[in-house]
Symmetry: C2
Subunit: 340 residues, 2 copies
């Protein structure tokens, strides 16, 4: 967390406050944390290092009037953790670059927001033993809060799960339930039109799939370690888009059974076609989508998370959706846009 | 480089263009680059991993009317490389998060700027064998270009240079020359008031210390490997500020000889007190500031870069500037603000 620009006293206080909070976080892998030109990380012996970076930009990935500060912080970290989960890696360390609009930390409400954001970001780092090891701070050039999160993880050499690896005949599986994040986002948009959202601060049991997604780290670690998955990706852009990524990288096609899709409980009240649309195209569920060989026994629950077979890998490159009557239609990626 | 939001066709083209350019970059350490949920990096056997992240935000760290696109890209990467140099590490891989204002890639001038930025960023990655291994892209919430660069490097276990380690009696040394970056920045500011800057695109021989700084990677690697330095930091915030960082972490004071400071040739035409001020407080020189035991023989050139002794580490915590008559006055950190 080398500061590269002259900082106002507010910024210096912010850096010191983040540094003080992160100092309590230690791990065997982190040899040197915040306070030098670089952090020093020692991956476990025989492990490769996995790296992912994700922007969380106000107005693009969160809104201060829809998301509580803790939700924004939680979601910032969750995006990176889910990328590690998808490759079967364990998190080692996180790095946060945080840009705040000029003057934000001079106002009590601004400082409170930053505190809440750090609460939300640091809670999962503590739960998963992932120390905040560094980053950068700067005054943002506009009025939007800018965050970029880097997650480092590790997995035993050469064992990481990739998008490539699926073969025709493999089963297609998904963890948890689909469409919940999109449904909750739609509810947030609706409620913000009618009144200021309550902006829940906590998610006791994963009942807020958009505000407090739960990355499937333990499940991903087991999918890799027990050699269950032949290919994997996280469902961050929506099932249809992420399945297309996996199929393209693997050089295969797929048939998905619409009636097999595990719908999130938030979709129950919706018309069937709308529920199906959110489950297929709704983004940010942060579930794992994976394939497994026909000979592999796939448990119905892995690390406490339900696993559902939703289809089969096929030859060729077309991705088809099969309805309950057996009719197949092409499953186009995307089709759903979230607009904050 | 997992894309987490629905992208416009312009953004998709941008990602594909960056991906295509980065694909040509390979290294033994990079097992898997852009195109999956994470990159996979394998540090050399017996090495620790070093990590640094740095924002490059338009209006804070560069201006499109002062800096050419290639300069902005070069500087973005140079900041991270210099952090690695300061700890004696070799670069392994770079990750770029890039946020562009809405519509920028739909205009020819915008696409040209992004191409130039990537030219500037990728040239040093090619020179140093540091593949661009991933990152993120997003639409920026405002009108400013947002970049965050992550550099991964490595050094043999437990040998990295730190800010801590200086002892009373150690000599204080600096590489290259000081104040050049601040002087060139002042010239840019002046010329932009008079006419549109020529915005030089190339720096054939390090004659543009602000626009095209040259991180001291080979020198840092040797300072560590040959056990020359007892502590080190890069001069990014200015000598006075970075020396204060090093002294605080080492629990020591210092005496700096003002007449010993290696002034950059761009300072020659300035009044002596102004030249001294820029050499002491001017930021972004990206030279290395290090200490060495009295018994250590420090070469005058290391890896082709001049090395100058500028003072001596002292007991206590005060940092003093000694003039040519032997009078000592406290050397306060900072005192110079660059304001883009």
């Amino acid at each position: 967390m080398a500061s590269k620009e002259k900082s106002s006293s507010g910024e210096l206080q912010l850096i010191e406050s983040i540094r003080a909070r992160a100092m309590g976080q230690r791990s065997a892998a982190l040899r040197l944390g915040i306070g030098d030109d670089c952090a020093v990380v020692r991956p476990p012996a025989g492990h490769d290092l996995l790296v992912t970076t994700d922007f969380s930009l106000e107005g693009r990935h969160f809104r201060r009037d829809w998301h509580s500060a803790t939700s924004a912080g939680h979601r910032c970290l969750a995006r990176g953790l889910s990328d590690l989960a998808a490759m079967g890696a364990k998190p080692l360390a996180a790095f946060l670059s945080l840009g705040l609009p000029a003057g934000m930390t001079r106002k009590a409400a601004g400082r409170q927001w930053v505190d809440g954001f750090m609460d939300g970001l640091l809670a999962p780092t503590a739960e998963t033993g992932t120390p905040l090891a560094g980053g950068d701070t700067a005054t943002a050039p506009g009025e939007a809060v800018l965050a970029d999160i880097v997650l480092l993880g590790s997995a035993p050499r050469g064992t990481e799960l990739r998008r490539r690896g699926a073969r025709a005949g493999d089963g297609i599986y998904v963890t948890g339930a689909l469409g919940g994040a999109a449904a909750e986002l739609a509810m947030l948009a609706e409620s913000s039109r009618r009144f200021r959202s309550a902006k829940p601060d906590k998610a006791p049991n994963g009942t807020h799939p958009h505000l407090f997604p739960q990355p499937r780290l333990a499940t991903g670690w087991r999918l890799r370690g027990a050699k269950i998955a032949s290919a994997a990706i996280d469902v961050s852009d929506g099932l249809s888009t992420d399945l297309a990524h996996l199929c393209r990288e693997s050089g295969v096609g797929a048939v998905v059974d619409s009636s097999a899709l595990p719908l999130h409980s938030l979709l129950v009240a919706l018309p069937a076609d709308e529920a199906l649309r959110l489950a297929l195209h709704g983004g940010e569920d942060y579930e794992l989508l994976f394939t497994a060989r026909p000979s592999t026994r796939v448990p119905r629950r892995i690390a406490g998370v339900s696993v559902t077979r939703i289809g089969t890998v096929s030859t060729g490159s077309s991705i088809m959706l099969r309805d309950r009557d057996g009719r197949e239609t092409p499953l186009q990626p995307g089709g759903w846009e979230h607009d904050l």
